[in-house]
């Protein structure tokens, strides 16, 4: 029988940029038994990349190497199969298991509570929304609440500065439950928050997709610019192919690249900080056209 009661679970998703996020999985546990505990064993749903384990005082905690955990579990399975079943098989998501070592001078004493923070990053590359001119990374979160779990789960998503958060929520099976809360759609700007109550006798699933990006107007303007730049690029290539790099072509290219450069610079200056630095690279193709035009001008003696 476990002595460690999970009091609260929190998932915090902090975005430094739309496609860079730090994930903090926070467990608050209480020792309900009579013995001091020096380790806490957590079955987890997935491997956590770049993992750092901290307690509520910010102390970095050790955890046992995977190989040692696996070896210990195999020994328990062999020597005490009933105990293994109760501790491991009973948790239906043992993709990854971690045993956190508490400081020797600060074990989890009877009745004490401790918060353990598992700070990590995504183990996969970002995935972007399809049919969008801009690169907008998307993410999902899914919670399956099983019967018998008496604790609530907090979820918080913080978008990077100067961006807007878009959330698509699937909470049909929990919406009507007491104490359930999620930030109303109209109030979502850069932050989203939800509280998932204990499931009681009825299990439920809560899922959400989200992405961060520019506002609707900013996205519209940037998309229009990208289309314009693409059309202009094709026009330049056509002019070059048909005109054979004549001084006339070079003059046209110069005029076009000059116009596009001015438009791009104006657009980027007008955008919010986060987006102007993210899309600064848009200027590169425009400058490349200008460079080719100058080269032609020089070679052909326009």
């Amino acid at each position: 029988m476990t002595q460690v009661e999970l009091v609260r679970e929190r998932w915090l998703f902090d975005h430094v940029a739309p496609d860079v996020r730090s994930i903090t999985l926070e467990y608050t546990v209480r020792n309900t038994g009579p013995d001091e505990l020096y380790q806490v064993f957590l079955p987890l749903n997935a491997f956590l990349a770049n993992l750092q384990v901290l307690d509520e005082d910010g102390r970095q905690l050790n955890y046992l190497p995977n190989r040692e955990v696996e070896r210990a579990l195999q020994e328990v399975k062999r020597e005490k199969p009933a105990a293994y079943d109760r501790a491991v098989t009973a948790t239906p998501h043992p993709e990854y298991r971690i045993s956190i070592v508490l400081p020797r001078h600060a074990p989890l004493r009877p009745g004490d509570m401790r918060t353990l923070r598992l700070v990590h990053t995504d183990a996969e590359k970002p995935k972007y929304l399809t049919f969008r001119a801009l690169t907008l990374p998307s993410y999902h979160i899914a919670h399956v609440r099983r019967v018998g779990q008496p604790y609530g789960i907090h979820v918080a998503v913080n978008a990077p500065p100067d961006t807007q958060l878009a959330v698509d929520l699937d909470d049909e099976t929990v919406r009507g439950r007491e104490h359930y809360h999620s930030t109303p759609t109209d109030d979502i700007d850069y932050h989203f928050n939800a509280y998932l109550p204990p499931p009681g006798e009825e299990p439920y699933v809560w899922r959400v997709n989200y992405h961060t990006g520019p506002t609707f107007m900013e996205e519209l303007i940037l998309t229009a610019w990208l289309l314009l730049a693409a059309v202009a690029g094709v026009a330049v290539l056509l002019a070059l192919a048909l005109g054979g790099g004549s001084p006339q072509t070079a003059r046209e290219m110069l005029a076009l690249s000059g116009g596009l450069s001015a438009t791009s610079a104006g657009l980027l200056i007008g955008l919010k900080n986060a987006w102007s630095s993210r899309y600064l690279k848009l200027l590169l193709p425009v400058f490349a056209v200008a460079a080719i035009a100058w080269l032609l001008w020089f070679v052909r003696g326009g």
């Binding site: 998932w11 467990y27 997935a46 009973a90 998501h93 999902h140 979160i141 609440r145 698509d168």
Partner: protein, 64 residues
């Protein structure tokens, strides 16, 4: 060997400083011996890049 009296790492009551309890509490043997006591019933939660198919019609469970 470390001096248990003057070394702040050791607290009163340490019977065998430098060995046993300290080293054991941070080993796989401790995990093996106390697994049932220290396991936490965590939730089934996942988060990753990419989107899920949401709002699909769920089949109603059949009455038993």
């Amino acid at each position: 060997m470390a001096d248990p009296v003057n070394n702040p790492l050791y607290e009163a009551g340490d019977t065998n400083p430098g060995m046993s309890e300290e080293s054991e509490s941070s080993t796989a043997k401790y995990l093996k011996d106390h697994l049932e006591q220290i396991v936490v019933d965590t939730s089934e939660t996942s988060s990753a890049p990419g989107r899920l198919k949401l709002h699909e019609k769920k089949a109603k469970p059949k009455p038993e």
